[in-house]
């Protein structure tokens, strides 16, 4: 008994929405105010880590092709490793801001995996289009965490990362297993699943 793939996309969209909101709030009030409550610095790193945990469940339960299993595994590892490094930085266990590079690496690998696992073209249907946009967005936006590793207090890089998370959330919320994009849908795409 598996939920439809689009429902899984929507659940992860909510996760990314939370990540983006936390980052925007931190930028809006400034890091000093943000850290006045001891739990706040852990908030979005914990979300990222927990999303990685749940992605493992997606990996083992959605096994209709090898390439999907590998892609889901890469996303899970990327989110968990990124989350662990951010938690370590927040806790003071890790000192160097260069650990932020792990988030950049996770975005590069995750974006690449998204593009490789989507074998359809851009305009095959809405889901294919969104996967392509998600993959390229993640790869392009990896510049923000890389920038944060060099300039940890940069508002521009923080807002850029938040924008990526919002974009991913919106894109994931737009997922339907079969729906047209820009009025176009391949006649060869499978018909919508009757529910």
């Amino acid at each position: 008994m598996q939920p439809p793939p689009e429902v899984v996309h929507w659940l992860f969209a909510l996760g990314f929405l939370m990540l983006g909101l936390c980052l925007v709030c931190e930028v809006a009030v400034g890091p000093e105010v943000w850290r006045k409550h001891g739990w706040r610095p852990y908030l979005w790193p914990t979300f990222l880590f927990v999303m990685g945990l749940f992605m493992w469940a997606v990996m083992v339960f959605f096994t209709n092709s090898t390439v999907h299993l590998i892609a889901h595994g890469l996303w899970a590892q990327g989110m968990m490793i990124g989350g662990v490094c951010l938690l370590g930085l927040a806790r003071g266990k890790l000192r160097s801001p260069l650990w932020m590079l792990s988030v950049g690496l996770a975005l590069l690998v995750g974006g690449g995996a998204t593009l490789v696992h989507e074998s359809q073209g851009w305009l095959f249907n809405r889901s294919s289009f969104l996967h392509h946009v998600e993959g390229w967005s993640a790869i392009g936006a990896s510049v923000f965490p890389i920038g944060l590793s060099l300039r940890p207090r940069s508002r521009v890089f923080s807002l850029g990362l938040a924008a990526l998370f919002f974009a991913l959330a919106i894109l994931l919320l737009c997922h339907r297993d079969a729906a047209p994009i820009f009025g176009h849908m391949s006649p060869d795409a499978r018909p919508p699943v009757a529910r």
């Binding site: 092709s65 299993l69 266990k93 359809q120 294919s128």
Partner: protein, 444 residues
């Protein structure tokens, strides 16, 4: 500058607007008979429904008996170009393998898969599909790596939670223990995935390029091997989360929770192995779990002591060595008792030891276990009294090499354990009940 941006945006919009060639590979949406189905009457036709249009290949559908006899006719389109059908000969009682392999008309990808069904007989698991061979050398090595990862994790956790309880630990030792257990859990996850994919390659019997689009769901969802993969992967992930929390919070209780959980994961190996078949399987599975769990803590704890403790905390060597000696006696007792029980259960006669491959491997394993026991006996009977008596100059320091030696012997025992877990024990020569329980022996 603004003109440049405008040009770039226009180029991007054009690139997005041009419809790309619609390429998509078809996936199996459903079939009749369905995977794992037990039919009361022989079907006259098999039907496979896909998500996209196909091209028919001569071997698009093969329905094979347990002896490899083909019962399916030439494949052809069914009601549309997404449906393949093939007529079937009269199927006698037994288990059947369906191998499908077709060309996705849209992108030219070859997609493939395998599943099983039974006629008046339970469907064999996908891992026993016709054409599947036993684990090869690579799979044995991967299984060994899996054992080592679990041993490193379970032994490291037991070492930290049980043997170092109440002691003040220097930061270097804490760090070394964290790295060791984290390496164990990461290796467990990664090697588990590799092992699953290797088995899937063997079951699907397709080249690597085609394997990328192979359907793994019958293996993941319909076999004990697949269920064990799911349970172990999720279990390792949970243990990874607990280790992360222990690191962040500087607390030991998450590790204390992770230890029994890790030991419980060892049941997954017993559930997916040969001990799960036959009568009184629960007793065999329990013995398997005790055998492997105790061995994992023994070898992992020993290696952790030699690698992590000896170089980072010389002041703790003596007290921890003595604690480990006491624990090792209990562990060895469990390993030997469960091992003797399993040997009696699995060998039908003493002669199996030299007449069967399983027995031959078991003999080599027993010899290595004897070497490890003798080495452990030296530590228990010779080294321990010296250490208890405050130790001679340099004696405790030199013990490290000896501990590593014993760990290496035990690690080599795990190689043979990996081979035995992947092997079938000898079959009783006069046991009709066993013959009936093995789908591979049912002739149509």
């Amino acid at each position: 500058m603004s003109r440049l941006w405008l040009l770039a945006a226009a180029a991007a919009a054009v690139a997005l607007a041009i419809p790309a060639a619609a390429v998509a590979h078809a996936v199996l949406d459903g079939s009749n008979p369905s995977p794992g189905q037990r039919l009361d009457a022989a079907p006259r036709q098999i039907e496979l429904r896909f998500s996209g249009p196909l091209k028919v290949l001569p071997d698009s559908i093969q329905v094979l008996s347990t002896t490899g006899q083909r019962f399916s006719g030439a494949p052809r389109f069914g009601r549309d170009s997404r449906t393949l059908v093939a007529d079937l000969l009269d199927l006698p009682k037994g288990g059947y393998t369906v191998r499908w392999r077709t060309l996705s008309a849209l992108d030219g990808h070859v997609v493939s898969g395998v599943f099983t069904f039974g006629v008046r007989y339970p469907a064999p698991p996908a891992t026993a599909a016709y054409g599947t061979t036993g684990p090869g050398t690579t799979e044995q090595l991967v299984r060994w790596g899996y054992f080592l990862a679990i041993a490193l994790l379970a032994g490291g956790l037991a070492f930290r939670v049980v043997l170092l309880r109440g002691l003040e630990l220097p930061p270097r030792l804490r760090r070394a223990l964290l790295i060791s257990t984290a390496a164990g859990v990461v290796a467990g996850i990664e090697i588990g995935i590799v092992g699953f994919l290797l088995r899937a390659v063997n079951v699907l019997q397709v080249p690597f390029a085609e394997f990328l689009y192979g359907d793994l769901s019958p293996l993941a969802n319909g076999t004990r091997f697949g269920q064990a993969f799911i349970a172990l992967t999720l279990g390792f992930v949970l243990v990874a989360a607990l280790i992360t929390f222990a690191w962040l919070s500087d607390r030991t209780w998450p590790l204390a929770v992770a230890l029994p959980f890790t030991l419980a994961l060892c049941t997954g190996l017993a559930l997916s192995g040969h001990s799960s078949s036959g009568g009184q399987a629960w007793a065999s599975e329990l013995a398997d779990w005790v055998h492997f769990s105790a061995a994992a803590v023994w070898v992992g704890g020993l290696a952790t002591m030699a690698i992590c403790l000896w170089g980072t905390a010389p002041e703790l060597r003596r007290v921890v060595f003595l604690r480990f000696s006491r624990l090792a006696v209990a562990l060895v007792g469990l390993v030997v008792a469960a091992g003797v029980y399993l040997t009696i259960r699995r060998l039908t006669a003493v002669a199996d030891l030299w007449e069967t491959t399983y027995g031959n491997v078991l003999i080599i394993k027993l010899v290595l276990v004897a070497v490890a026991l003798a080495w452990g006996g030296f530590h228990q009977l010779v080294a321990r009294p010296v250490v208890e008596g405050e130790g001679r100059d340099g004696f405790v320091g030199r013990l490290r090499r000896s501990l590593l030696g014993e760990s290496a012997v035990l690690a080599s025992v795990l190689v043979l354990a990996a081979i035995l877990v992947n092997s079938e024990p000898p079959v009783p020569k006069q046991s009709p009940a066993h013959a009936l329980s093995a789908p591979a022996l049912v002739r149509p």
